[in-house]
Amino acid sequence: MANFNPDLSSQRRRQAHSALLSLTHPNKSMFERQRALLRKAVPAGFPSPADDYVERRLSLDEHLIQHRESTFFMRVAGHSMRDLGIFDGDLLVVDRSVPAAHGCVVVAVIDGEFTVKQLLHTPQGKVLRAAHPDYPDVAVTAEYDFSIWGVVQWNVHRV
C-alpha cells in the first residue's frame, strides 16, 4: 500500500527549496539529490543533415499483426491443408479476437488437440474441411469436444 504517505510531496518540496539556498553553504540534501551538476559530457560535432529524415523501417509485425494482444504463432504438422498453400512446418499467425465466419481457416480444438482446417457453416451444422483429397470432412457433432481457438490470418511459408 504505497499511498499511506501524504507528507511525501511536502517533504520533496522542502528538499527542493533547500537545494536552492546556497552553494557556499551546502547542506546534506544537496549532495543526495544532485541532478544537473557535473553530470555528463556535452556532445559536440556537426549534426547529421539526415537526422530530419529518419523514418521507421518497415516491420512485418505491423503488417501481419492486427491485434497485438490476441495474436499468437503456431507451427503446422501434417499435409491436410496442402491445397490452400499451408504445408508441414509452416508458421501460422492466429488471431483469437476475429469471429470465425464461414470459409475461414481456423485453429480448432478437437478432444483437446489443435487442428488447422477450413470452417464451413452448412445447414447440417459446422464442418471442418481439409484442403487435400485424401482427408475427409469432419462434421462437428456432439460426440466431439470441440471449440474454435482462433482464426488463421496469415501463413508464413519458407520458399
Partner: protein, 432 residues
C-alpha cells in the same frame, strides 16, 4: 453509516485472473480443461496454483509437493513446473487489454489489476461482463470482476464474485442497498479483508471482531489506538470512502532478491560461485529495468535444514559498494568477495541467494569528484547493449563466463511446458 441518496459513488473495479498459472497452461494445452491441474513453484517444491478441480480434491496452496504424490496419483492430478516466460507474456496481454476499459489502471500484480470506472457511463455489471468476455476470447484467460467504491471493497467484491457462481463472475457492490451489503459483509470472515494479516486476526477476534461487518462498524479511533493507522484506514475504506488512490505506475522496488534452491545439494565452491553469478546477473537486469542503482549486495548461503543428520550451516554477509552502481560485473565481483568471506567447506549446500540493497533512482545518483565519467559512460553503454541483445535474442544469450557453461546446480523443472509465446522453437503445434 447511511449514504445520502444522489451522492456520486466512486466505482473501482478489481479484475483478477482465475487460477492464473493453471489457466495460462490450459490456453495451449486445452486437453487440461476439466482436469485437476497444479503448477509447482521453482524447483518443483510446492503447489503455487491449483485448478478448481484440484481445489475440490482438497489440495492446499503452498503444500509441499512430495507430500501430495499419493493423492495426485490416485486422482490423476497433472503437475506442471512453473513456466514464468509464458505467464509473464500472457499477463502483459491481459493487462494491455484491460487498459482499454479505463483511462486509469493500476497493475497490482501479475494477475490482478484495478480499473477506475468513474467516468464510464455504461451499466457497470454489463461492463464487467464485457471485460470478462474480451479477456476470455482474446487470450483465453477466465477472470472475475469486483466493483465497489473503494479498493478494499473491490477486493472483497471480487472475492464474492469468485465464490458465488450465480453471479456469473461479476459482483458490483454499488448495486446493493446498504442493508444488503451489510448482510453480505457479515458472512465474510475478517481475515479475507485486504491488508489484514494472519497475525492481526486473533487480536481482532479478541475484541469481538469476526466478520467484515464487525470491522466496518468498529470505532475507528479505538482501532487506531489499539492497532495502527493502517487498520483505521481499512475501516474507512470498508465504509465506502476511498482512501487508497490508484497508482498508475508501480513504485520501484527497494530491494531486489534472487535466491533459489539447487536441484541437488552441492559441496563445490565453483557451483556456488556460478549460481551466485547467475542470480546476480538476473537481479542486475531487473535493477536496470526499473532505472535504479544499488549501493550494496547481500550474499546468503545455507545447507538443507530438513536433513537433520547433515551438519548445518548458514550465513549471510552484506558487501557495500563504494557508490551506487548498476554494473553486473561489479555486483558479481562483490558477490564473489562476500561468498569468499562466508563460505566454509565440508557442508552440502542447498540454497544460495543475493539481494541488491540501498537502491536509489539512477537519476538521483550523487556524483563525486572521483568519478571516472568516461568509464561510467562505457559501462552504461555496455550494460544497455547487453540488455538489448538479451531481450531480443532471448535471455542469457550473452552472459558472464563465470556463470559456467553447464549449470549443474540448476533447478529441477522436470515438467515445464514449452514457452509457447517467447521461443520460436517451442511454438504450439496444430495438426494440418
Amino acid at each position: 453509516m447511511e449514504r445520502a441518496q444522489g451522492v456520486m459513488r466512486r466505482a473501482i473495479a478489481l479484475v483478477d485472473c482465475n487460477n492464473f498459472y493453471v489457466s495460462c497452461e490450459r490456453v495451449f494445452q486445452p486437453g487440461l480443461e476439466g482436469k485437476p491441474v497444479v503448477v509447482l513453484s521453482n524447483n518443483d517444491g510446492c503447489v503455487v496454483s491449483r485448478s478448481q478441480e484440484a481445489k475440490d480434491l482438497g489440495l492446499k496452496m503452498a503444500a509441499p509437493w512430495y507430500q501430495m504424490k499419493d493423492l495426485a496419483q490416485r486422482h490423476g492430478i497433472v503437475a506442471l513446473s512453473s513456466n514464468y516466460s509464458l505467464y509473464a507474456d500472457i499477463s502483459n496481454r491481459v493487462m494491455s487489454l484491460l487498459s482499454r476499459f479505463s483511462p486509469a489502471q493500476e497493475v497490482y500484480s501479475i494477475d490482478e489489476s484495478f480499473l477506475d470506472l468513474g467516468g464510464i457511463a455504461a451499466d457497470h455489471t454489463a461492463y464487467g461482463q464485457q471485460i470478462r468476455e474480451t479477456v476470455r476470447r482474446c487470450v483465453g484467460i477466465p477472470v472475475c470482476v469486483g466493483i465497489a467504491p473503494s479498493k478494499t471493497l473491490a477486493k472483497l467484491a471480487n472475492h464474492v464474485a469468485k465464490q458465488d457462481r450465480r453471479l456469473g463472475g461479476v459482483c458490483d457492490f454499488n448495486r446493493l442497498s446498504p442493508a444488503e451489503l451489510d448482510t453480505l459483509l457479515s458472512s465474510i470472515a475478517v481475515g479475507e479483508v485486504w491488508g489484514i494479516g494472519r497475525h492481526t486476526v486473533p487480536g481482532l477476534e479478541a475484541i469481538g471482531i469476526r466478520s467484515v461487518l464487525d470491522l466496518k462498524r468498529a470505532p475507528a479511533n479505538r482501532l487506531r489506538a489499539r492497532f495502527s493507522i493502517v487498520l483505521a484506514r481499512i475501516v474507512e475504506e470498508l465504509n465506502g470512502a476511498a482512501c487508497l488512490e490508484l497508482d498508475d505506475v508501480a513504485p520501484a522496488k527497494r530491494q531486489i532478491t534472487c535466491s533459489r534452491s539447487f536441484g541437488t545439494l552441492t559441496a563445490s565452491l565453483v557451483d556456488l560461485e556460478q549460481a551466485l553469478i547467475a542470480y546476480t546477473t538476473r537481479a542486475a537486469e531487473k535493477l536496470r529495468q526499473q532505472h535504479s542503482m544499488a549501493g550494496g549486495i547481500q550474499v546468503y548461503i545455507r545447507t538443507n535444514p530438513h536433513r537433520k543428520r547433515d551438519p548445518q550451516y548458514q550465513q549471510s554477509i552484506l558487501v557495500p559498494l563504494a557508490g551506487p552502481s548498476n554494473d553486473t560485473r561489479l555486483f558479481c565481483r562483490a558477490a564473489l568477495y562476500g561468498l569468499g568471506q562466508i563460505h566454509r567447506s565440508g557442508y552440502a549446500y542447498q540454497k544460495a541467494g543475493i539481494t541488491l540493497t540501498h537502491i536509489i533512482d539512477a537519476a538521483d545518483k550523487p556524483n563525486t569528484l572521483f568519478d571516472d565519467v568516461v568509464l561510467q559512460q562505457r559501462t552504461c553503454t555496455l550494460m544497455t547493449t547487453l540488455d538489448r541483445i538479451n531481450r531480443r535474442m532471448g535471455s542469457g544469450t550473452i552472459r558472464l563466463l563465470g556463470e559456467g557453461t553447464s549449470a549443474r546446480w540448476a533447478m529441477r523443472r522436470e515438467n515445464r511446458s514449452p514457452r509457447y509465446t517467447t521461443e520460436w522453437n517451442e511454438l504450439a503445434v496444430c495438426r494440418g
